[in-house]
């Protein structure tokens, strides 16, 4: 009577997973004043909104670890997010052979080990995909509000630049701003 011998293999691995996402754009600033002055006004406005100077750039960290980096000289904006996670993955396989030792058993073990590794690889990729989705969702959640805020910042910088320009052209008699519509009226005596 032949016997069946059970081979059981278990493998555990630790993976450091990383996911990131980013999007870039450029603020559309009109050249009302020379570029350096426009850059200064933009930097001042951004600092007023919580951006911090880091080298040539201005940085702010949003909810969910999203960071916004703006270069006031070029008006380039980069919004990025990074996520990291360490996961421990386990997989187990079992099979049966007809002999307790020998080449058939070795071959069975080798095949099982390869299957286990593929299994673990699949699980790691799945985890990475979930982490990536989380990173992208976090970034996406911030974009809409950030776009509105940056539009407002650009409008304010434009208004300040117009006031400065107007002051150079003549004497400002009256300035009225409509916060709701964002319109600005400057009456000037030249």
């Amino acid at each position: 009577m032949s016997r069946a011998y059970k081979i059981s293999l278990r493998q555990r691995t630790k993976h450091g997973l990383r996911a990131s996402d980013e999007v870039g754009t450029a603020l559309e600033l009109l050249e009302i004043l020379p570029p350096e002055r426009m850059a200064d006004l933009l930097a001042q406005e951004l600092k007023r909104r919580g951006f911090v100077q880091k080298g040539d750039k201005l940085l702010r960290t949003e909810k969910g670890g999203v960071t916004v980096e703006i270069d006031p000289k070029s008006a380039d904006v980069i919004v990025q997010v990074e996520c990291e996670k360490t996961v421990t993955l386990e997989a187990e396989r079992q099979t049966w052979t007809e002999s307790p030792a020998g080449s058939a058993q070795n071959a069975a073990r080798k095949a099982m080990k390869e299957e286990l590794q593929r299994d673990l690889q699949r699980k790691a990729e799945q985890q990475k995909a979930e982490l990536q989705k989380r990173a992208t969702d976090r970034l996406e959640a911030q974009l809409s509000d950030l776009r509105k805020e940056l539009d407002q910042a650009v409008n304010r910088v434009t208004a300040e630049a117009l006031k400065e320009k107007a002051a150079k052209l003549g004497q400002i008699k009256q300035i009225s701003e409509d916060a709701q519509t964002g319109s600005l009226t400057i009456i000037l005596e030249v």
């Binding site: 996402d21 980013e22 999007v23 870039g24 754009t25 904006v77 919004v79 995909a129 990536q132 989705k133 990173a135 992208t136 970034l139 996406e140 974009l143 809409s144 950030l146 776009r147 940056l150």
Partner: protein
């Protein structure tokens, strides 16, 4: 009376079908059973080939070049039909031995056994290749043609007509625009303006049905490259009037004020990173992006004064701009691109 062999008879029928743009159902059956290539063609067969090319190509050019229009000649706008703007003796097409060689290889299923160098090809040869690819488009033989006859992928006019089909593989094929920027080549390009606009409009309509992100990216990359190089090439020889096809196609595509979702609405990109979505949108909207360059050209044309060089060319450009609603077209294109940005 002329006598030809069976192989020559089939070759002549295929050539006639290719040149007269017969339906593929008339041409493909003759290619289905390739024959043994003869050592040479008979004098009668060669004479008939010449006759088909002479009549067929002239008829094709006349059909496309009959419209009364204005194009630049030495920086000045000249009006008339194709053969009125350019003297007929300068429009005569030359064909090298490579037309016959191409047909022999096609009929004997030995494409690529000998390949021409670009300098050996005449404009007539290039037009035959274009017609052949057009006739086989959609069939597996077109792919064989693309893979084994590099003269097609490297030809500028073929790349303009077959943006979707002639996708670059991993290595980029150098595109040769120079034959179409000679006096004769540019005259042929003038007569192709409406046909090119038709082709690009149809492609933008077809892109609305694309669901495969990989295909969208490939076609978009091809469009970006081909249209970009084409505009660079005609700009370098001061022939911006040859971009009329793009103005025309742009007007047709933007006529009903489409939204960006027309190009990206069918794509499943929820699982893509935002960084990758930006690239996918860029490729999907490659045609719309190309229209931005035309706005820049219009701004430049508006600044050319009466006594400046290029005044006549700038006036022709401005007339085309108005004729094809350039302002409305490019405004709407800019709006689409603005709304497609993730932020």
């Amino acid at each position: 009376m002329k006598a030809v062999s069976l192989f020559e008879y089939n070759l002549l029928r295929v050539l006639r079908g290719v040149v007269t743009q017969a339906s593929p159902s008339q041409i493909l059956p003759m290619l289905a059973k390739p024959g043994q290539r003869p050592l040479c063609l008979s004098a009668d067969a060669v004479s008939l080939v010449q006759d088909i090319l002479a009549k067929g190509m002239v008829r094709w050019l006349a059909r496309h070049g009959w419209a009364n229009d204005r194009y630049l000649r030495d920086g000045v706008a000249v009006a008339g039909r194709l053969w009125e703007r350019t003297p007929p003796e300068l429009l005569g097409l030359k064909f090298s031995r490579w037309t016959l060689e191409f047909l022999l290889q096609l009929m004997s299923n030995t494409l690529g056994s000998k390949k021409p160098q670009a300098v050996e090809l005449e404009l007539g040869d290039r037009l035959v290749f274009l017609h052949a690819f057009q006739a086989l488009r959609g069939d597996e033989r077109a792919e064989r043609l693309q893979n084994h006859w590099p003269a097609i992928s490297s030809d500028g006019l073929c790349r303009l007509f077959f943006v979707e089909e002639l996708i670059d593989a991993k290595t980029l094929t150098r595109i040769d625009w120079s034959p179409w920027l000679t006096e004769q080549g540019a005259a042929i390009l003038e007569s192709m303006q409406s046909a090119l606009a038709d082709r690009w409009e149809q492609l933008e309509i077809r892109k609305q049905t694309f669901r495969d992100v990989v295909k969208v990216r490939q076609v978009g990359a091809s469009q970006t490259r081909v249209l970009g190089e084409f505009l660079n090439a005609i700009d370098a020889v001061h022939r911006r009037d040859l971009a009329r096809c793009l103005l025309d196609a742009g007007r047709r595509v933007m006529r009903d004020q489409p939204a960006a979702r027309r190009w990206i609405g069918n794509l499943d990109i929820k699982r893509e990173r935002i960084a990758d979505r930006v690239l996918i949108y860029r490729d999907a909207l490659a045609f719309v992006h190309a229209l931005e360059r035309l706005r820049t050209w219009n701004e430049e044309a508006s600044q050319v004064g009466y006594f400046d060089d290029g005044y006549a060319a700038s006036q022709l450009w401005k007339a085309d701009w108005e004729r094809f609603d350039g302002e409305a077209t490019t405004n709407h294109a800019a709006e689409i691109l603005r709304k497609a940005r993730p932020m």
